[in-house]
């Protein structure tokens, strides 16, 4: 299709994020005319890694000339992207359903009278744009049609596209823009609770625990296993709400979305809200004492039984076999 598609991208520590690359490739699947915009606080001297090879026609980098704190919760980003959307004829605007995308997407949509569809897993463009998104916590899916007269912003669930690694030679434009408004929320402090090591979102192996662990000490065993497998530690919302583990480990609809090769779910029943965060995993292993638990319908391998002796034997076998 010849539609003009704009991707709102994200850069983290001077590198284009993986979920942004996914969205740019999704844009390339539905249109030949893909532009990408990044809003940043300042451009580093060495530039941003990966920007020159993005598979897009053009890339705009808009710098705020201010530090990140003053960008607050994306007021500046909403303002400059709104100006861009208004000035060019973009029918479809795509972004990733990250913390950033979940705020900037709807703000730009409602400010510019555009439609908005959130957390989508597929877009097709035969005659009209048809978009699929999970609803009811992932129990069901809904297909939406975007009418010809509408302009629509669509946020894509991270992990909904396997990267092909395609590249391009986009034109690159760098603009500076002054932050104009001052009466708004300001971020006064940011606290990182993530532990060192592999990031959940990037991990090839995730070991997750749920209510079935029974207490916070169970996470020590799972953390040990995650370390052996060079993976990351996850948790269900029930385990986080019980205070057994920090919320930054939460996998699910309202937590993180993971897509590892191996997802080991221990004492997790597999409610759809949890599966929304891990169903993109290539191989799910379920360990649960309840053989009727939903997780066994989602898993490739399962063990029904008491998690503690299972995990202890699992760990010692890995160590004995010197698998790692």
């Amino acid at each position: 299709m010849n539609t003009n598609v704009l991707v709102i991208g994200e850069i983290y520590r001077n590198v284009v994020t993986k979920s942004t690359l996914e969205v740019i490739e999704i844009a390339g699947d539905i249109s030949e005319h893909v532009s990408v915009v990044f809003v940043v606080s300042s451009e580093p001297n060495e530039g941003f890694k990966g920007v020159e090879q993005l598979p897009a026609e053009s890339v705009s980098i808009i710098c705020s000339e201010e530090n990140d704190d003053d960008r607050g919760i994306y007021d500046f980003d909403t303002e400059v992207i709104s100006m861009l959307v208004e000035s060019k004829d973009y029918t479809i605007v795509l972004l990733s359903k990250t913390d950033y995308g979940s705020v900037v997407g709807p703000r730009v949509a409602f400010r510019n009278d555009m439609e908005y569809l959130s957390d989508c897993t597929n877009i097709s463009s035969k005659n009209k744009f048809e978009v699929t998104r999970p609803v009811y916590g992932g129990v069901a899916y809904a297909d939406y049609l975007v009418s010809d007269e509408s302009k629509c912003i669509i946020s894509m669930r991270p992990g909904s596209k396997l990267l092909t690694g395609s590249g391009g030679e986009p034109s690159i434009e760098i603009k500076k823009h002054k932050n104009s408004s001052d009466l708004k929320p300001k971020m006064v402090k940011e606290i990182y609770e993530e532990v060192d090591g592999v990031k959940l979102e990037d991990a090839n192996v995730v070991v997750s625990g749920g209510r079935g662990l029974g207490s916070s000490t169970g996470f020590e065993d799972l953390n040990h296993l995650a370390n052996i497998l060079e993976g990351a530690l996850g948790a269900s919302r029930a385990a986080c709400d019980a205070g057994w583990i920090d919320h930054s480990h939460q996998v699910g609809l309202t937590g993180k979305t993971v897509n590892p090769d191996l997802y080991i779910a221990v004492g997790i029943s597999g409610a759809s809200q949890h599966m929304a965060g891990c169903s993109m995993s290539r191989n799910i292993v379920a360990i649960n004492s309840d053989g009727d638990a939903n997780i066994f319908r989602e898993a490739r391998f399962g063990v029904i039984g008491n998690w503690k002796p299972i995990i202890q034997a699992f760990i010692s076998t890995i160590e004995d076999l010197n698998i790692r």
């Binding site: 919760i73 990250t98 913390d99 705020v103 997407g105 709807p106 703000r107 409602f110 400010r111 439609e115 908005y116 959130s118 999970p134 609803v135 009811y136 916590g137 129990v139 069901a140 899916y141 809904a142 297909d143 939406y144 049609l145 975007v146 007269e149 509408s150 302009k151 629509c152 708004k184 929320p185 971020m187 006064v188 940011e190 990182y192 609770e193 993530e194 979102e201 709400d241 919320h247 930054s248 309202t254 759809s272 809200q273 292993v285 379920a286 939903n294 319908r297 989602e298 490739r300 391998f301 399962g302 063990v303 002796p309 299972i310 995990i311 034997a313 699992f314 076998t317 698998i323 790692r324």
Partner: protein
């Protein structure tokens, strides 16, 4: 003068209904919920109610008004926030509002907030458990031209200024904001409190203030630029291989060996 807090809430099907009991309805555009499963107030909206009540616990004079838009409200259900301690209930009920698009919801909420306000603080759950859109409160903020802070886990009012701890995927941020402001509340704020006897009595006596679309002079189209074409339940064709052993430890050993065979370890 009390601090006026509005809570945007939604009546939704109980998300804990087993998946096996849920079907797509005849029109193919919504789910058929078993009749013996009563609806609930969206869980995150009760978290928002809890956040408002915590501001009262801090010793501030607050007046808490719950606002709901929809159709087929169940009296006992929609009064839940009142039984927890909220003061007023406003229902915008209209038979044309059976299935509501986020855009129309935003427009109606903005009208009712303007008509019954002004409010210093508008709270809402981070998303509703039916369609998981998570953008209605953001749309309300943009439409009314006031700031939005999402995913709050703690809200304090200090000298007419708001201090919010905002959950991020890697930790949290501390945000300060002038009022009025819209804030969406996440489950990290804490479990909604159980109603006490006084709250239950207050809810029994409470008469909701009712509005129709006509009362709001609402003439916008109920149609939308995106339309829900069909809904379907995800089929799972997954064959699960159950690993068995002589006891739990043996099964754990066999699992490790099986995963090694598959090249997964």
């Amino acid at each position: 003068m009390p601090i006026e807090i509005a809570i945007l809430a939604k009546q939704v099907p109980d998300p804990d209904i087993p998946t096996s009991r849920i079907r797509v309805n005849e029109s193919g555009t919504d789910l058929e919920i078993p009749e013996d499963a009563p609806p609930i107030v969206n869980g995150f909206d009760l978290n928002a109610t809890e956040a408002a009540l915590k501001i009262r616990d801090d010793g501030l004079d607050v007046n808490i008004t719950v606002i709901m838009v929809g159709n087929d409200f169940v009296n006992d259900v929609v009064k839940k926030p009142i039984s927890m301690g909220a003061d007023n209930l406003i229902l915008v009920e209209d038979e044309n509002l059976t299935s509501l698009s986020p855009r129309v919801t935003v427009n109606i909420l903005s009208k009712i907030l303007t008509k019954t306000g002004p409010f210093d603080l508008v709270l809402a759950g981070r998303q509703a458990s039916d369609f998981d859109n998570a953008h209605v409160p953001i749309g309300v903020a943009e439409t009314m031209g006031i700031p939005i802070i999402t995913y709050a886990r703690k809200i304090e009012i200090i000298k007419e200024h708001l201090k919010v701890e905002r959950v991020t995927l890697s930790g949290y941020q501390i945000i300060e904001s002038p009022m009025p402001v819209v804030v969406t509340v996440s489950n990290e704020v804490g479990e909604p409190r159980y109603p006490n006897l006084r709250g239950i009595m207050a809810a029994t006596k409470k008469k909701p203030e009712l509005f129709s679309l006509n009362d709001l002079n609402f003439q916008d189209s109920l149609a939308d630029g995106v339309c829900l074409k069909r809904m379907f339940i995800r089929e799972n064709h997954n064959e699960t291989e159950i690993i068995k052993g002589s006891d739990d430890a043996d099964a754990g050993r066999k699992l490790a060996i099986r995963l090694k065979e598959e090249g997964l370890l």
